[in-house]
Amino acid sequence: MQDVAQQAVQFIDLNLTVVLFLFIVGFIGGLVSGFIGSGGAFVLTPGMMSLGVPGAVAVASNMCHKFPKAMVGAYKRWRYGQVDLKLGLVMAASASVGVLVGIKIQEAVLAAWGQSGSNLYVSVAFVVVLVVVGGYVFYDAWKIARGGGELPVNENSLAKRLQKINLPPMLNFETAGVRISMWFTIPVGFATGMLAATIAVGGFIGVPGMIYVLGASGLVASATELVIAFVMGFGGTVKWAINGMVDIRLTLIILAGSLLGVQLGAIGTTFVKEHMIKVVMGTIMLIVAVSRGLAIPKYLKELGLISLDEGLIAGLMTASFITMCIALAIGAIIILGSMWQAKRKEKYALKESYGQV
């Protein structure tokens, strides 16, 4: 099995375009990950494939860079007191089960409808989850921003109501400031794993789940997501590396950029108001949903459900990839812009206190 897998693997030759693309996307993906807990993978994998890297090698090399990046980001944010390690490990345990179930579903879809059916399933999952969850995250962020950035206290929120249900075993998450039944953490972790196995970005469910279902703050949820990403990324890497699919050169180039980015993103969380995490996450999720929506006609055509011109399909696929890059770039611009604004305010306040203004 291993030999067969290896015979099929073709590692690409490196050139300047490949190196620059991986370094820059690695940096921006790292920046977004350090800030919202996940991101980057959804551009890196298709991007690498469009550069000629085989699908399995792209996924494996991407995952091999993901877990050390998450580890460095989690450590940095743990030093700022934002990581709830216990919550991360509890979530990671149920997420691992979710990944296994997600893979089984993927395999069943692939067996029943082939590669196009599988691609269609992934794209539809992307669009539905990202529009519903991303839309809500964005709406919530917009409401908070309209109120001057102050977090409203809502005693009737879903998280508060769940926390009041005394269903043993009750778990106490000190950093998150949450006391909740273990039975409510399981579905959130499970859904995170399922999404990770389907669209490779579990954080799009994990972070909103920890915020709106469990009641953690945006800061703690995004920081804790890095712990989950580390555990799942490590497990996934071991599996791919045993099959010899990791192209260590690609991994190290992405890592060169992402380790710079992830630390900058982590520092950024201490500069900005908490709702900015939701703004960035909601914006990226909605734009990525549009990007995946543009890819759906291609799979519908391959399944023979609609008929479309080949040129139009190619144009839609290019637009889909560009939109995905734009999602990441806009996320990075919002993060860097809000950091710059916060730094300027801080400088101004310092000058004012010295009486220089």
């Binding site: 998450f173 006391r179 192209d247």
Partner: protein, 103 residues
């Protein structure tokens, strides 16, 4: 102020040191890229090689990145993120037994 300058100088020195170490590691791998790739993609027990490699790189390059941002003056603000204490349900008051006469 001198303390701040001293700290910054220390960050610059560490950034240069770890930067040189990172560059050396990358040079070592990419000058022998074919050999490294061949071993790392052998699979089975050789799976430990790419995993160990990324751990080493993330320690050295991670330290470089940390000191680089600090040397550039980009550091976390003093605003500490205090962990919130989980709300425990208020203890229920037990009624005290009182003597009374049944009339």
């Amino acid at each position: 102020m001198p303390d701040r300058k001293k700290k910054r100088n220390s960050h610059i020195i560490k950034a240069v040191l770890y930067g040189a170490l990172t560059a050396a590691l990358y040079a070592a791998v990419f000058t022998h890229a074919d050999t490294v790739l061949a071993y790392c993609s052998r699979g089975a027990w050789f799976a430990a090689l790419p995993i160990a490699t990324v751990f080493v790189f993330s320690f050295v390059h991670g330290a470089f990145a940390n000191y680089l941002w600090a040397a550039l003056g980009i550091e976390a603000t003093k605003k500490a993120v205090q962990p919130r204490v989980a709300e425990r349900p208020a203890p229920r008051k037990r009624p005290r037994p009182r003597l009374h006469l049944n009339t």
